[in-house]
Each structure stands twice: as structure tokens, then as C-alpha cells.
Assembly symmetry: D2
Homo-oligomer: 346 residues x 4
């Protein structure tokens, strides 16, 4: 694979920083174009970014001039870390101008012509792109990744579709980094739980059905899904308890085997960001835990534990993933890797 | 009500300290006898207790000599804050010796002849006592209060029995004070979630059925209950998400009304520790929260919020209670208040 | 003392809420007038306030109409919880219009004609008021309380002036509630320390010298003070390590005795909010701790511990106080109590 | 450098786990011998270790049989992660039996014949070894690394010796991982500060003088040092505020330059664990912070920030280092690297 120039829209925000950090050491993609709002335009990236990551600003981003989010400027492939308040319009303009927009924003996720992609789960949804381009009159295209909780849940559920997945009850314990910066006030979360995250339950319920569905997601999966979402005093890593009804009534060992043996196209293609394997099954009785397990597979693996019978549904378990890696920047980068491998950018 | 002398078994532990602190300002009970293990015997309470509460040691406990847990010594009514490792034998000996043991320990909770009492919910279970005394040959008796998570759940479910309660799926987020002292190591819980608490899920499932059951709990309630239990970085207050199937299919307003209008014998009798009302329904969308709501009703009220439809079951909500007050010492004291009001100690 | 009507400027902010909560149960003051910015004007207090306290909104504030901060309106005595960005102008207008403004804002603290008052420490600084009124041409007046860290330090240092206090080195560990709401982002402080609080070190150094000084603070105390300020993951309670040079070279027991026997005019007058005693000296080796000691004396006492020799200075110790009570609303209310007792409002 | 077999005494504890994890990827050392207490003897390492790190157990340690701490067994070079309660006797026996014991335990740190080594600071203290061996009659030897707070302070002070370092006042904010596992109870530290760590202040004061001293540490540095030590709710990374008197009265820029240009033998020799540079000077006003800076230099660098004048001493600053890397296992491994490079193990 020859190196491909890529850009980042919204490069100075928290998710944008994650794109910049992860792309800096990417074997295929070179982040040669960083765009942000007009007040950063023309200034050095390191002079305007309120850098919040534990790794330093990459060498390659130091001194790089930030540009405006102007369609037609920048490389053919751009990652979008834009805030939802502006992502809708800007991403559409970029797609119209011929860019492939690989977006972490929520705006187009539920658009029936836009893939809501988890490469291990629904790589076939990329077949929507020609129709998307034709219908919308775009020379480029938009591909999205799911909400940071949805991706963990959908990964864990994907192997269970084989057992006739009928109902899903999920209760999340989500990290504060999922709310961006400044995000959650410390007075709200220190020594506390906030049992509400605006819009999150609806996203988990609808996005999961689309991802697990057929026909590019236009035929949503029939599983009935109900989510409780909670914010807890964790920095990174969304943990969730899950109860599922499986019509095929598999044994617990069958469920564990299905999770452990699950593979997708990223693993087959050995994409640079692909976790091997994508789902880890913890054997210790008190795992997964966000502080110990969020970074598994360089932050791209989902860890499942405590698979056991549920008296109300059929089975229950705990699932965990890194919300700002597998749930944001890392997800989009893996999407772009699959698209690159499939020749979509050629 | 004339003042009644009471004792505390295990007075130096974390729960014992809570008994000592709450009894110090009790209008009916006077904590005149503090007992602990032999290594504290004969020493002043304040000299041996590793006091962990934010309120100071009560005046009345300062200088009071700690005695051994010897049956027959001490007042007729004793609260037990003993550890489960020793509670079984000692409580039995005290009951045999004629004491009324009002216990927070788990050992006798599931004994079919021992009331597992929440005065608002199953005050009638006290009718087990004569049979308990007869069958066991005890002159005294044992009455227990539930596990700290169970009491919150059972309180919230009690008003819903009227709607044909069929299934309950609960996922808890429990405070560290529930594990005693030293309890949970800080390395396990700082910035973390531990999705496992040994034995807790079984207790929640079985204790709740007994409490909500008939015939003194010997006919457990038929609701099928499944629990996920998690430890989070909260000091006091167990929060839980709950999904319930209700055969009568009430509207959400009916559920809220049932919760708000719920009253029990403690409220009718206006017992000193009775919260008025026992269940608060929060109207803000992001409540209850442990840091803001655990102390409601002097720690004795359960707060419910976010009552809404559930796509998988019928309704879902969040419930919260103070685990070391409503879930431990406060619960036992309320039990004793009901017993005193009913003349059981006469 | 007959009941006195008082108002609160900035009643809907975090500090304003504390005024409303504490005044609701005050024996002398009746909070009959709540003022805030124009966007709240004419609306019910409970409808506009983003209430953040663990105690509920007081009965008396529910349904009360919020008014604008218009000088001449409202009672003679008004507490100011205004943000520093607006406090300067508004407080001055109120003083000119004849109000006594008892302010928690920083704007006038270092004005040589405005008392920076801790009633136990420098009650005599109130003698500045006639000159303040004359010079500024105000019919009313302004009295301020110190920064939330300064008050803890100045209280602990006040009894040490008798030993020829020469130098003070203080390193703070401050709670997030000191920064208001939304204040400190959780991403900044969860599992972290931020060794910087803008402007705080300068305030501690200069305010303490004024408070401990003579002539109404216009002759600052000669002690040289140096502060390090840090934010830690604590909700309420500022803890600080302090090293002091004392020219009189007292023994450690002398220092402890001076702290324990310290009394001021609030204690002599037995003012409603006066902690008895104002300074507690902890004897346990690992105290004071914010979670266990911040609420001592209903949040108005300062707790000192670990008094011991310092190899570099002469003595060192730990001091702790409740930053939003003793360091904000409670401090202003105690100031007003002293002023009322002294007949200043008559 | 050819690969050298090394052993770990106390391999199953928290510090032992860090040795196993870091040695697993070491270019020179091969951890071929893991020893622990007798109850683990003969069992597979992964079967007995309560693994607490976020990285998985290394491949090479899985299935490796744990041996007893028997002198004469195991390789010539052994790292000691033993608890202080047993380290004294066992380390002495190993040294007598001809092993080079590179220890993290505190037992021999203040022995005048045992180097208390920070390779950047006092590499010359290794010249004590021949006299140690002769006097004690050991064929092997013992070399120690400092306490986890001391190493951060001593690193930051080393470059300041050139300015006539006279007094040091340090106030620490230490992470819970410094107390091992289970270590600090969560009830003690959640939302709290504990202003006391047993024995820690004495260690910081005496160890620092030895490290900065001459003649192998037998002529301690004359700087007078006073420490306040505090535990805060941080997982990894000790932060400390430091005020220093420097007789030479350098400008702040001179101090920064001295810190930044500081190099030691590990940097000259380019040892595998040597951070390049050893001291980073943060330019942001609110750094260093443990969550963002503890991992700098793979956990081996010390970060200093906020260098500014102090009104009481001459200058003040904040210093930070990773307590379980630079302050424990990483420190000992760097010590062994220097010894290997100097031919001491040959």
C-alpha cells in the first residue's frame, strides 16, 4: 500500500487530537492537512490546539499551519471530527466536492444511504456508496462510524446473530471522555453516578439495529433493544451489562466460542488497526474493567466477560471497549483502512 | 414510648459505628451496651474503635467500656453488626438466651422462620416470630434486614406488585462503603468499574423474592429476577437501573403515582426513623444521583427517577438508596422501632 | 435580635444557592429578596436555578420571584454572590444607594477602605466603614470575606501572631467546588492533580497579610508568605500543608495550646454561625481529611493537625476548612452577624 | 551486550509484577528465574500471581514455575521486589551467597556501605561496592534505589547543587499505587486527601541527603530538607511542590537551563532505560500533571514545571515522576543497566 495523504476536519478538538495522534504513526495514511474553524486558520497547529492527550503532539503536527474547512481544499480522503452542530453542512459540502468523508459525527449515521460501518460486522454496507453518490449527486461520499457505546455493544452482539438474537437489555457505565472537553463538570461526576446521557439511549437502540441489519442497514435487525445509559467516574472505557434473549438457546460455552472465534474482514485483510482477535473473552470473574482492559488490542478490541445464564432473558455478560479509540478515531481509521484495501479511494 | 436500653454486637466495625452514631440521637433507644471481639474487651470504646464516620464519636460512647459478645449479658434488645463469619453462631446463642437480635448480618436472612424485614413492605412477616421461637426453642428471636442493594430494589418494586410484577432485570452501580473497611482497595476502583461483587447477585435475586412474598416469605414472590452487580467509585449510595415486566400494563403516570403514594406501617405509625414519604420520585431528567440524593429522608428514603417505557420489558427506571443507612444500620433500627411499636419487646 | 430582611445578589449561581440554603434556616436573617441577571427576572426561583446542592431547595425559595440586581430595590442588607466580572460595578451601585453589601466577590477585597473580614481574626477592621462611606460618598458600605483558601490559612495563622510570625510557606490541595459550576472539567481532575489555579497564589499571599494586619488592614502583616496552589479530586474542603517561621520559637505544645484556646468576637458574642471552638486540633496522626473533617462546626470550623517541628522553618502542620461554607457563603453570613450584633445595620 | 539471565525475588507482588512486565521486553536482561514465598513454590507464575497491571502477563512468564527465595539458586543478578518485612534477611543471604542484589526494598538504603543509586545523579556511589564486599564478607553485593518520592525530588534537585542548594521544602501529592496492593482502602481516598504516609517524610529527608552527598553518600549533602507527604486520589505519578533556597541566587532562566541540560551517565552510555533527556521542563502553566505526564520517557523521565521565584525561599517549582516506574522497578533496572555497562557483573 503506498502512502495516502489524508486530512482531518475539526483537528483541534478532542477527537481531532486523537486522529492526529493515531495517524502520526499510521503505516498507510499521512495526515498532511489539518483543518479547523476560522479562528485557528493560518496559525500553527501546536499554537492553537488545547492538547489533552497523555502522548505529546506528534512531531509532524508541530508547526503545521491549520487551514479552514473549505471543500475542495485538502486531500481526497478526510476524516471528520467535527462537532454535530456543524458537521452536517460541512461534510455534505466536502462529499459534493469529491472528498471521501470518513466521519465520526452523528449527523449522517441514520441516513439510509450512508454506511454506519463497523468493518468486522457489516463491511458489506459499503455497497451503499454507488447509490449514495448517484442519489445525492456527490462525486465523493460519506461513511460513518457508530456512537461510542453502540460500537461496543454491536461488536459483542454480532456473533450472537447466529443464535437468533431477539431482545437486548443493556445498562451502560460510560467514561467522561465520551463527552468531549470540557464535557462533564467534575462537580457532577466526582464520587457520583449520573444516570442520564442526552440522546444516548435512542442512538444505541437505533444504530445497533441498523449496523446488525441487512441491505446496507436499510433492513434493520429485528432484535428489540432497550438501553439504560449512565455516566461514571472513569476516564476512558465504556463498560456495559448486557442481557440477551437468543431464540436458539445456545449453551454458555457456545456463546463464548462464538465470541472468541469471531473474525471479520479487518482480520482477514490484516488491516493495520485490526485487533487480533477483535473480541477477547476474559476468564477472570471480575473482568473486564476499564482501567485494565480498555487498551487491549491497542484500544481496538472489545472485551467480554462473565458470560452466564440470565433468569429473565437467556444469557447475560459484561462488555467493554475504549470509547475514544474503538468508539471514535480508531473506528474511523479502521473504516478508512477497509475502504483503502477495497480500492474505494483509487 | 419509654426509653429502652439496647446493645450493639460488633460495635467497633464500620456498620457497628453506624449503629452507635445513629442510636446516640435516637428518641426511644439508648445504646448502653457495646460489645465486640475479645481483643477490645475491657477497653474504652473510643480507644479501640477505628472510627471512620464524618460525624464525631458520640459523647455517650466515649469512655464506655467494650464488653465481650457473651449471651445473657447486655440488654434484651441487641443490634447485630457482626461479620458473617461469626454472626451465625453468636446470634443464635443470643436468641437462645432470650435476646431479641435485630441483625444486619446475612446468615439468617434466608432462614424460612426468620423475617427478612422491610417495615414498609412486609411488616406482616413478623408473625413468623412465635413459630420461630417454638421451633428453634429460643426464648428470644432473630429478625434481619436485607442486603444493601436488595432493600433499595425491594422498596421500589413493592408498589409495583399491584400491577402483576412478572420479571425484573436490575443492573447496580454500588458504592464502596458497602464492602466495609478496609474493603475495596483503591487501586481496584479509582477511575474504574469492577463488574462483579461476590454473592451479591444471588442475594438480590433470592432476598427480593422472599421479601415480596407471602406467608412470612415462605411463599416467595413469583417474579423472575436477574441482577448484574457492579462496584463504582462512589462513597455512599447504591444506584441501579431496573427494567420490569408488569402484566397489568399500567401507564407510566400510574407507576409514578403508585410509587409516590406508597406508604407502609412505619409511615402510619410515624416511627422515628420512618421517611415521609418512603419513596421519592425525582422529576429532573438526570436524577437520582448518589451524591445528591442518598441522604434524602435522613438516608432512609429511596429515590426513583426516569420512569419510562422499556422496549424489551414494559417499564424502566432508576432507583437509589443509601447503602449504609437504609441498607444497613438505619434499616435495622427501623425494624426495631416497628417491633417496639408492636409490643414485641414488652 | 429581631428578624432582619436580607437579599441575595447572584442568587442562582453556586455560591448564591449556598446563601439561599443557609439563610433559609437562619435565626436572624430572612432571605426575602433574590436577585439575579435579567434573563431570570420575573421567573420563579426554582424554575430558573440549576440547583446543585445535596439539600433540597428551601420551601421559602420555591415560587419566589427573582428580581433584577437594581440598586435601591430590595432590603438594606444584601449578600453578594456575584461573579467577579460584574460584582465591581453592581456592588458599588448598591453601596452608593444605601445598601450594606456583604460580599463574597474578590473585587473590593484589596481596597484599602474595605474590610476583608474574618470575625474571629480582625473584627476591628470594621472600623474602616465610616471612612469608607465618607471617602467614597456611599450611604451604604461594602464588607468582604476572603478567598476560600485564604480564610483557612488566616484562621490557622491568627493565633500564631503571638509567636512573632515571620514566614509562611503553604501548599494547597483544593476541592473542585471552589471553582464553581461547571468549573473544573472532569477530564482535568479525575485521577489527576492540576498544580495551578489562576490568580490563587497571589490572592493567598496578599489577602492574608491584609487580614492579619493592623489599621484596618492598611498596615499589612510583615510575615512573608509564599503559596503553591493545587487542584485535587475532592468535592468540598481545602487542605493545605503549612510551614512557619516563628521568631519566638515556641514549643509544639505551645502552638497547639494557642490554636485550641483561640477565640474571637463571634465566640464571645455566641453568634449563630460561630463555631465553638473556631479551630479544632486533630490528635489522630492522619487528620484532618476533607471527607471526614470539612463539616466540623457545621462547616465553619478550621481543623489543624500534625503540628510538629520543621527542619527548614520552625514548625509545620496541616490545615483544612470547608471552602464553600467557611470559605464563601458561611463566611459572609458570619460577617453580617457580627455587623448586626455591632449595630451597624441599625 | 550479550543477554544476561536475571531473577526476581518477590515476583508475585505488585512491584514484582512490574519487574516481570518491564524485563519481558528488555534488550539485555532475560528474566529466567522468578522467586516468591513458599506458598507459590512449584506453581506456574500465571496461576499464582494476582496480576494487577494494564498490560497482560508476558508470554515468557506464562507457565514458568515459581521457585523459593533460596540463596545460591537462580542467576547471579537478582532484582528484589521483596517486602521490607523479609527483604533484610533474604537480600543479605543472597549477597553472601554471591548474588548481585539490585533492590527496591528500603532495608539497606541507609546502610553506609550500600549505594542508594540514581544513575544520573550519583553513579560514583557504586565505588562503595568493593568496601561493602570486604567489610561484610559478601561475594556478591547489594545496590538499592530510593523511595518513590525521593527519586523524583533528588532528580530535580541534582542540577541545582551547582547553585549552592541550602534548604528544600517539599509537599507531596502521592499516588495510591505507591502503597502496593491492597494498599490504600478506597474509603480512605475517594474524594479525599490523607495528609500522612507513615515513615515517608523521614525517608525523603534522609535519602535525599545521602543521594546528593559525596564519598558514596557517607558525607550527606548539607541541604536542610523538610517534607510534608500526602496521599491523593491518583493511580500513578507522584506530584510535589518544592521551594528551594539557592545560595548562588540564580535567575529563573538559569534554573530552567540547568534542569534542561542535565545529563548523567545513563544518557552518556545511552542505557536502554535511560530517558533522553532525564528531566523535562514543562512550559504550559498548569503542568506537570500525573495523568498526562507520568509516562514521559517511558515512565523514566521527571517533569518539572512552574519554575518561578519564591518569596520565602529563592525559587519554587512542581516536580512529577512515575512512582512505580522511575520510583521502583524502572529505577532498579536502570541501576542494573549501569552496573552491567560498568562491568560489575562480569
Amino acid at each position: 500500500m503506498r502512502t495516502l495523504d489524508v486530512g482531518v476536519l475539526g483537528a483541534t478538538g478532542v477527537v481531532g487530537q486523537q486522529f492526529v495522534a493515531r495517524l502520526a504513526r499510521h503505516p498507510w495514511f499521512r495526515p498532511s492537512w489539518l483543518a479547523a474553524s476560522e479562528r485557528s486558520e493560518g496559525k500553527a497547529y501546536d499554537a492553537v490546539v488545547p492538547w489533552r492527550l497523555a502522548v505529546p503532539i506528534p512531531e509532524g503536527a508541530i508547526g503545521r499551519m491549520v487551514e479552514a474547512c473549505t471543500p475542495g481544499r485538502g486531500p481526497k480522503v478526510v476524516f471528520s471530527a467535527l462537532d454535530a452542530s456543524v458537521a452536517g453542512e460541512i461534510e455534505q459540502q466536502f462529499a459534493a466536492a469529491g472528498h471521501f468523508v470518513v466521519s465520526n459525527a452523528r449527523n449522517f449515521r441514520m441516513d439510509p444511504l450512508v454506511p454506519l460501518l463497523i468493518p468486522e460486522v457489516n463491511a458489506d454496507h459499503l455497497t451503499l456508496l454507488p447509490e449514495q453518490q448517484r442519489t445525492k449527486g456527490w462525486k465523493g461520499a460519506i461513511v460513518t462510524n457508530p456512537n461510542c457505546s453502540t460500537v461496543v455493544l454491536a461488536m459483542a452482539l454480532a456473533p450472537l446473530r447466529a443464535f437468533d438474537l431477539q431482545t437486548v437489555l443493556v445498562s451502560t457505565m460510560q467514561a467522561v471522555s465520551g463527552a468531549g472537553y470540557p464535557g462533564v463538570p467534575s462537580l457532577d461526576i466526582l464520587g457520583n453516578v449520573v444516570p442520564f446521557i442526552g440522546g444516548e439511549e435512542e442512538k444505541i437502540e437505533s444504530e445497533t439495529q441498523k449496523i446488525l441489519g441487512k441491505n446496507g442497514g436499510r433492513s434493520p435487525h429485528s432484535a428489540v433493544i432497550s438501553a439504560h445509559t449512565n455516566r461514571v467516574a472513569v476516564v476512558d472505557g465504556h463498560t456495559m451489562t448486557v442481557s440477551v434473549n437468543l431464540g436458539a438457546k445456545p449453551g454458555m460455552a457456545d456463546i463464548v466460542a462464538a465470541l472468541q472465534s469471531f473474525r471479520g474482514r479487518p482480520q482477514e485483510l490484516d488491516l493495520p488497526s485490526a485487533p487480533q482477535p477483535p473480541i477477547l473473552v476474559a476468564t477472570e470473574p471480575n473482568r473486564p474493567q476499564p482501567r485494565l482492559d480498555a487498551d487491549r488490542g491497542d484500544g481496538m478490541a472489545v472485551t467480554v466477560g462473565r458470560v452466564r445464564p440470565c433468569k429473565v432473558t437467556h444469557a447475560k455478560f459484561v462488555a467493554l471497549g475504549h470509547n475514544t479509540v474503538r468508539g471514535a478515531a480508531g473506528a474511523a481509521i479502521l473504516n478508512a483502512e477497509l475502504m483503502a484495501a477495497d480500492g474505494i479511494f483509487d
